[in-house]
């Protein structure tokens, strides 16, 4: 598995390098703005970094999917499928590469964001402003402020597991289409269509689990204008009991993991039994 992983990382290495170079260029713009105290340049750099971070994570996921598609539908696949490794190992290496790449990219951009925000407030404000900005950002991205670490952890767990299940779903859709229509034109479009249909269906099923499970105090419900399937935590105060939401979020995360495991097993089985390269 280690060697498979090494080559999976190598296959996507070039696009990662390009993303890193683009990020560094945007970072340079941001730093020039900070050092020259030009707010316009700082804003340009910050916006560039923000969109590159979002786009970069998406591009990494797409690149991994494209590599899988190429391995199943072009002659390059011989390199992979003639090695003495089962489809379970081959797919496992691909799933790990994609997950790890995206997680590392997420951590990289998050750390870079924190460093940049610190620099920004050192140059243009105080550290108190920085803390407020962090609360604002975590609230914007995760719907929760930093004061509740358990809920934040549950949200991050849910995000990661949802991402893993999305990766496995994309693999599954591509493998099914490639096994059925190997080497034919437009298989990638059919794969995307199958992915969208399955993705909507699975998310609807998982969202049947209420966002909050267990007893919720009336105060919480009043504060949130409670809707069991969607909620806005930005209105919450420190005193509100969040254990029900943590439970609901963790259960949804576990369902995503279960779903990913099922899709992995089904995808590898289809590859083993039916996929011709």
């Amino acid at each position: 598995m280690g060697k498979l992983l090494k080559y999976e990382l190598r296959k996507t290495g070039f696009s990662k390098l390009i993303m890193l170079i683009i990020t560094m260029l945007a970072q340079a713009v941001f730093m020039v703005g900070i050092s020259s105290h030009k707010e316009g340049t700082v804003l340009t750099g910050a916006l560039l970094l923000f969109f590159i971070a979002l786009g970069g994570i998406l591009v990494m996921g797409l690149q991994s999917m494209l590599t899988l598609h190429r391995d199943m539908n072009t002659k390059q696949g011989y390199m992979l499928f003639m090695t003495p490794h089962s489809s379970y190992s081959i797919l496992g290496a691909k799933a790990i590469e994609c997950t790890v790449s995206v997680l590392l990219a997420g951590v990289f951009y998050f750390v870079l964001g924190i460093i940049d925000i610190r620099m920004l407030f050192k140059g243009f404000g105080s550290l108190e402003d920085f803390r407020e900005a962090m609360d604002f950002l975590t609230n914007m991205f995760f719907g929760v402020t930093l004061f509740d670490r358990s809920l934040l952890t549950a949200f991050i767990f849910n995000m990661i597991t949802a991402w893993i299940s999305t990766i496995m779903l994309a693999c599954f859709a591509d493998i099914v289409i490639s096994a059925l229509l190997n080497g034919r034109k437009y298989t990638i479009l059919l794969g995307i269509a199958l992915f969208v249909v399955l993705s909507v269906s699975i998310n609807r099923l998982i969202n049947l689990v209420p966002a909050s499970i267990g007893e919720i105090s009336q105060e919480t419900l009043d504060t949130m204008n409670y809707n069991p399937y969607s909620f806005d935590l930005s209105q919450l105060s420190v005193d509100v009991d969040l254990s029900g939401f943590i439970r609901g979020t963790v259960i949804r995360g576990c369902l995503h993991l279960l779903c990913a495991a099922g899709l992995y097993a089904a995808s590898a089985w289809i590859m083993e039994k039916y996929l011709s390269v």
């Binding site: 190598r10 002659k75 390059q76 499928f81 003639m82 003495p84």
Partner: protein, 234 residues
């Protein structure tokens, strides 16, 4: 021993291989012959585990081919199959990483004999250079079965001699060597047996000694006899 039992591969409207049963013995060099689209490549890919059969099975030493048997079968596809970023050295390292029977030293020495730059990017190689590289990679393995699909494709006369020498050096008593080619005369100088395939069907499986001694014809004559009419009418 590599055995094909009632092996069939059907695509939507085409039967690429139809109920082919044959046994390839150790110590033999087989020439698989037939016109374009006769099913040679599909048969080899099924034996290599790359293409899943519609029916029938392939057995290596009596066991259906599986993950473990891939480490005993060295298959060389006629199409280039390397990753774009690879140099000849990267390709060697890749094989060394995945095949315990691969000798990097033998590979490097073969490349040197063939006058190929080990640091050269494969995507910049000509078709002849790529063909030589594929041969060097495949034959640097100490596999039980070698399957070479069109090893002389796009190769000039002098390079063909080098490749023929490499192939013959890989042929041993415990090895099975199977090659497909359109260059019948070239194959006749190497092979010990011939497998004639047409439109997915096994037409004849014959030892070259029998062909010469009992039927009094060469492999090329036999090829003309079997396919001549079909190719003319096609």
């Amino acid at each position: 021993m590599l055995e094909s039992r009632n092996l069939t591969k059907k695509y939507v409207s085409v039967t690429a291989v139809n109920d082919v049963s044959m046994t390839l013995e150790d110590g033999q060099i087989y020439a698989m012959l037939g016109p374009n689209g006769s099913g040679k490549t599909t048969w080899m890919k099924m034996a290599a585990g790359l293409v899943k059969p519609t029916a029938g099975s392939v057995l290596l030493n009596g066991e259906p081919i599986n993950i473990a048997s891939r480490s005993k079968i060295a298959y060389m596809s006629t199409e280039p199959y390397f990753y774009n970023w690879m140099s000849a050295k990267d390709a060697g390292r890749y094989y060394a990483d995945f095949f315990a029977d691969f000798s990097f030293e033998k590979y490097a020495s073969t490349l040197k004999d063939m006058d190929l730059d080990i640091n050269g990017k494969i995507r910049s190689f000509s078709s002849g250079m790529t063909a030589k590289l594929k041969i060097a990679l495949t034959l640097a393995r100490d596999a039980q079965v070698y399957m070479l699909d069109e090893p002389f494709n796009g190769i000039d006369l002098l390079a063909r001699d080098e490749i023929r020498t490499s192939i013959l050096s890989a042929a041993k008593n415990d090895k099975i060597l199977l090659m497909s080619s359109h260059l019948v005369e070239e194959m006749e100088a190497i092979a010990t047996s011939a497998v004639f395939i047409r439109k997915g069907n096994l037409i004849e499986f014959v030892s070259l000694n029998d062909l010469r001694e009992k039927q009094g014809v060469s492999m090329a004559d036999k090829y003309r006899e079997i396919f001549g009419h079909a190719e003319v009418s096609a």
